[in-house]
Symmetry: C2
Subunit: 358 residues, 2 copies
């Protein structure tokens, strides 16, 4: 992947100014360069990463489609927990740095929360989720037992009080409490939907023109994928991307922190990594798509494909890895398989619902 | 702790302007309020935090001093690894969000590195350490086998390549590769000192007036604590604190990102949490001090005690916890036990050494 990609993503803005357009075009040409040759990094548990060059044809190969049988949950291997040192020095050393852990391990602790319809990982520093993962299927979306007007926003009691995002932090902040896993994806159960209202599933999002508009249409795009794929997994989360300051030509990350005292970071961008599974049987092909959208007003006319980015760009920016165990042979490129575009429908209807619920 | 403390710390600046001075005074009065009554948060593994009010007299009690015997490494209990969900839904749920982990667990992974003289935890998003812990004793500082002129700065191969801070990111950035565990604390072995030169032990620091001056004097203060305490543990790391913009009265975090493309965050502040152990036997009293310094020129005349902050303020800002297993009965307040002040000595000498080494 071109080294410039992340910088280009960082420069992304929803504005229609010439600079932004140039940045987007430049990103898109980076993307094309990306497709011609790519690199998969194989991470050893305790050793350096070994970059393995992979021909692009193996990354997104094939064009097979399947019909959608009733989905079956896939058994999940338990990821290895991170190793924590017990002694920090050789017997000959005059010091023992690991002795500190007698007073407690500093962390970071990600406050993983496993709920019916989502799993979230929380960042105690930014008081935002790091990622939230969900699973939708034609069957799960067909059931309509939950209604968001019965749900209320909640502080997450699984997070220690001093690291919690608070309802009062959002109050009069000017930002929506923006669902990362959308409530509308969890209508199959009122209690599952209620659980999407924990603040550990929220980020401060620009309301009009983003959370209530383009972002909502993007969420709708994800749901519509279930008409083609029997099982769709989506990881969503915030990013804090640098932007070049023309005054000194340096790159700066700048984001607001809401609350009094300031507590919850306002992300500059949001990502979604989409895994559209062609089959619910183990080992099937997976259409992968990664998107980064600015936390800003985006005109509905903007093509969704403008926001497609290489997966590795999201990984570098987020400090996370999303598909380290997914062999390249099983990967396809979502936007080569299906049209990556939003449908602006039921606009007035949606506005009305949002006005009630937000 | 007063809710305003973190905001006030955030406003801290090394500048001598009236606003900064006001912020520091206000922080200091916050600190006094803090001492009169404080709260310890007991964190349950899977439940909500239970705030337990603790009288201030129990937090920093006693005034006992000890002489310094030869230190003995303390046996370290293994901290519990974080729980990672294996299935994300009840049997009745139509979805299984945990199925995503089949493709790999997203992280975050902290890249703990255990070296002879330090243990570091790395932030793959900011490409800085989260914390670095060291241990110094009168005996360890007495041995002088290592010399920094034999050491070279190194990219850390324990970190996957795509998340590494790189030497080229720092090159011509205008910032020092600022040791978090100082090389000078590890003279007891050349190889131990060499290991402090991994970039996983570095943050971009302002050179003149900070890393080569006030910060160096602060490191010297830590070493001098070993004349009174037989064992001193220090946790050091970066912070990214918000500052109020007078233009719109909102709080913003703003930091530079160095490298081309931008890769390594430039922290706005640095913390040290100091555990000065009165005894090397288990269960002894510990003099605790927490400090937050801006990554900026600080005049040598500025009292070190101006930068003392409540431990909880560092914890909230860093999203970490440093003393969750240290009972309040064992805690004393470092700056009540000893004079928290820098000594500006061997200035020309130090400058010469830095000019060579940095």
């Amino acid at each position: 992947m071109s080294k410039a990609t992340i910088a280009v993503i960082a420069a992304m803005s929803a504005g229609a100014g010439a600079a932004a357009t140039a940045a987007l075009y430049s990103m898109r040409s980076e993307k094309k360069a990306e497709v011609t040759t790519t690199t998969t990094t194989v991470v050893a548990t305790k050793g350096p990463a070994v970059p393995v060059p992979v021909p692009a044809s193996q990354v997104f190969s094939g064009n097979q489609t399947t019909t959608a049988p009733v989905p079956v949950p896939v058994p999940v291997p338990v990821p290895s927990p991170p190793a924590i040192p017990t002694t920090g020095s050789s017997p000959a050393a005059p010091v023992n740095p690991a002795g500190l852990f007698e007073y407690g391990f500093p962390g970071p602790i990600a406050d993983l929360a496993t709920r019916q319809a989502l799993i979230s990982s929380y960042d105690r520093r930014t008081k935002n989720p790091q990622w939230v993962v969900e699973h939708i299927t034609p069957a799960s979306l067909a059931v309509r037992d939950g209604d968001r007007k019965n749900s209320t926003f909640l502080e997450d009691p699984l997070i220690p009080e001093k690291f919690q995002a608070k309802l009062k932090d959002y109050f009069r902040s000017g930002y929506d409490r923006g669902h990362q896993v959308p409530a509308a994806d969890c209508k199959w159960s009122q209690s599952a939907m209620d659980e999407t209202f924990y603040l550990s599933n929220m980020c401060p999002q620009v309301g009009d023109g983003f959370n209530r508009d383009y972002w909502a249409h993007f969420e709708d795009f994800c749901r519509r994928l279930t008409t083609r794929y029997p099982s769709v997994r989506i990881v969503t989360g915030p990013l804090y991307l640098p932007k070049r300051d023309p005054a000194d030509n340096k790159w700066y990350v700048k984001y607001e922190v809401i609350g009094n005292p300031p507590n919850v970071a306002v992300p500059t961008h949001f990502y979604k990594v989409i895994f559209a599974e062609e089959s619910t049987a183990p080992g099937g092909k997976v259409a992968l798509g990664a998107f980064v959208l600015p936390n800003a007003v985006i005109p509905n006319e903007k093509p969704l494909s403008d926001f497609e980015v290489p997966l590795e760009a999201v990984e570098r920016a987020a400090g996370l890895e999303f598909a380290s165990k997914l062999p390249v042979q099983r990967r396809k490129r979502l936007c080569a398989e299906t049209s990556c575009s939003i449908v602006v429908k039921e606009y007035a209807e949606r506005q009305k619902a949002f006005a009630k619920g937000k």
